[in-house]
């Protein structure tokens, strides 16, 4: 029997997550790991938007900002526990994505890219300028979520970095599971149909605008939860979480790894999260090398790293 895409993806991902710590020389690596998982989560959402539905967004860090600041602000002002605030933040992100997406998703290609970029910058500016609420560029602290204490109460006693490694991993796996369910579902097929040919999708009855909006909203929720994870883990947020560089990074990770596949995008997230740490050895050439690697991958592996590598492996088998 052939493995389904979903099973195969989870069978690769989960063992990697579980076994990786064996090779961690220090706690710092848990921290890098959780960063990969958070980016991986956002990027899984981007696969739904870019890979499935064929749309682009350069503003999704804006939703991460909303997720992050929900965790910071709601507990202080409304007395809502941070974890519930993350859920509420995701709801707010979904509503906002729905509102913004309706007019914006009529645009195509680079028009859409610019409009979403504008949205992201807008969120960033609000978080930076409304100092009375957000603390401005200096950021603000986030109340302890109490998750680690809860874990401790049931006998799971982990160092902070270890605890968040596993927390982020669990959220990522749930996110991947949902995205893989979606891919091979009626909705996923409709999204991919929109990607393949809008006019053909329409003639088989797909309400194209509605499905694009669904993909936009779902991916916004992924970004929002990723932002919340950052806030909960760091217990501190700055407007940087909504910075447009993050939006662009996510698109880059998605495309570099292989936009069509969740595993590929997470691979892209892992590479682009760890590469800068590795390249620090090259000091001032770090950014230069990073840019060069990105260019070379796109020139020689147009489908993204993972799909190209897989094809090469299969090609040798045959």
């Amino acid at each position: 029997m052939r493995l389904s895409h979903k099973t195969a993806t989870l069978l690769v991902l989960i063992p990697l997550i579980v076994l990786a710590p064996i090779f961690f020389p220090s706690n710092f690596y848990y921290r890098v790991g959780s960063l990969i998982f958070i980016n991986g989560l956002a990027v899984t959402g981007m696969v739904i938007l870019i890979g499935y539905a064929g749309q682009i967004s350069l503003g999704h860090a804006g939703f991460a900002g909303i997720g992050a600041y929900s965790c910071a602000l709601m507990p202080v002002h409304w007395g809502i526990p941070p974890v519930a605030a993350a859920v509420l933040g995701a709801v707010i992100s979904a509503l906002l994505a729905w509102l913004v997406g309706r007019p914006i998703l009529r645009l195509k290609g680079y028009y859409l890219a610019v409009a979403t970029l504008g949205f992201g910058i807008l969120v960033y500016m609000v978080l930076t300028n409304e100092t009375w609420l957000t603390g401005g560029p200096d950021g603000m602290s986030v109340n302890d979520s109490g998750l680690r204490d809860m874990a401790e109460a049931v006998g799971i006693d982990l160092k902070n970095s270890q605890f968040w490694y596993w927390m982020c991993a669990i959220v990522l796996v749930i996110g991947v599971w949902l995205a893989m369910n979606l891919q091979d579902s009626p909705t996923g097929r409709a999204l991919r149909a929109v990607h393949g040919s809008e006019v053909a999708a329409r003639t088989v009855g797909v309400d194209v605008a509605r499905y694009k909006l669904q993909a936009f909203v779902i991916s916004a929720v992924y970004a929002s939860v990723a932002g919340s994870m950052v806030a909960l883990q760091n217990e501190f947020v700055t407007p940087d979480v909504a910075g447009y560089m993050h939006s662009i990074e996510w698109v880059t990770m998605t495309v570099l790894g292989g936009a069509g596949s969740v595993l590929g995008a997470i691979f892209g997230a892992a590479i682009l999260t760890t590469l800068p740490q590795v390249l620090t050895a090259f000091a001032e050439y770090e950014q230069l090398l990073l840019g060069l690697i990105m260019m070379l991958v796109m020139i020689f592996m147009r489908d993204g790293l993972l799909p190209s590598i897989m094809r090469r492996i299969r090609g040798k088998d045959e």
């Binding site: 949902l178 369910n181 979606l182 091979d184 579902s185 009626p186 909705t187 996923g188 097929r189 409709a190 991919r192 149909a193 990607h195 393949g196 040919s197 006019v199 053909a200 999708a201 329409r202 003639t203 088989v204 009855g205 797909v206 309400d207 194209v208 669904q214 779902i218 069509g260």
Partner: protein, 260 residues
Amino acid sequence: MSALLSVENLGITFGGLRAVHDVSFSVKPGEILSVIGPNGAGKTTLFNMISGVYQPGSGKVVLEGQDVTGMRPDLLAHRGMSRTFQNLQIFQNMTVLENAIAGFHLTESGNLFADLLRLPGSRGRARTAHQGAMRLLERVGLEASAETNAGSLSYGKLKRLEIARALALSPKVLLLDEPAAGCNAVETEEIDQMIAEVAKSGVAILLVEHDMKMVMRISNHIVVLDHGEKIAEGDPATVSRDPAVIAAYLGTEAAEDADA
């Protein structure tokens, strides 16, 4: 029986070019109506207006007694209209099977949360669509290619895949824009038979086809377009004798033969 679909004085202009002008006709259930005419006559444009891809500049499209002029294609699909494309519109990012399943969108799609959580309802609908799609692929002879990427299929096979996808909607009216283009004689014969079968099941069929032998064999009624205007219509025998048709159409056909 009354008309299932009728087109009344339909017209559109593109920057001064009257691509289609004042065209009217109607099709009944089970009938095969062919639209013929030389290259650039406006056949595809006519299909695009009927199926809601283009907004008609003038005139009406009436489906089952209701004015559906310029209605969105996805809403027309709900009302039982389905079509194929002359310049293939395949979902290249999917397998052959998934393309066919996509044709079942109307019956397959349900609730987003059921899909995200892979609830039994979602799985059940997907399974039904999967089975229906496999049957259609068998019908068009593509069952062996089910798991292949649609992008890697030959042109003739893609044409058949589009027909399968269009049939998946269980349409009341089916628009086929050159379904046999690029197919060899055997394949053309098969498509020919399939169209006749579909019509026999009560579907109204609008057909654009350059293969005159096929058109004359299977059409109940023929509408001839030239420079966007209807220059003749009638049964195959009448139309093939019409001097205007011979001048407009067969003249260019002879020229095409000379080109080839």
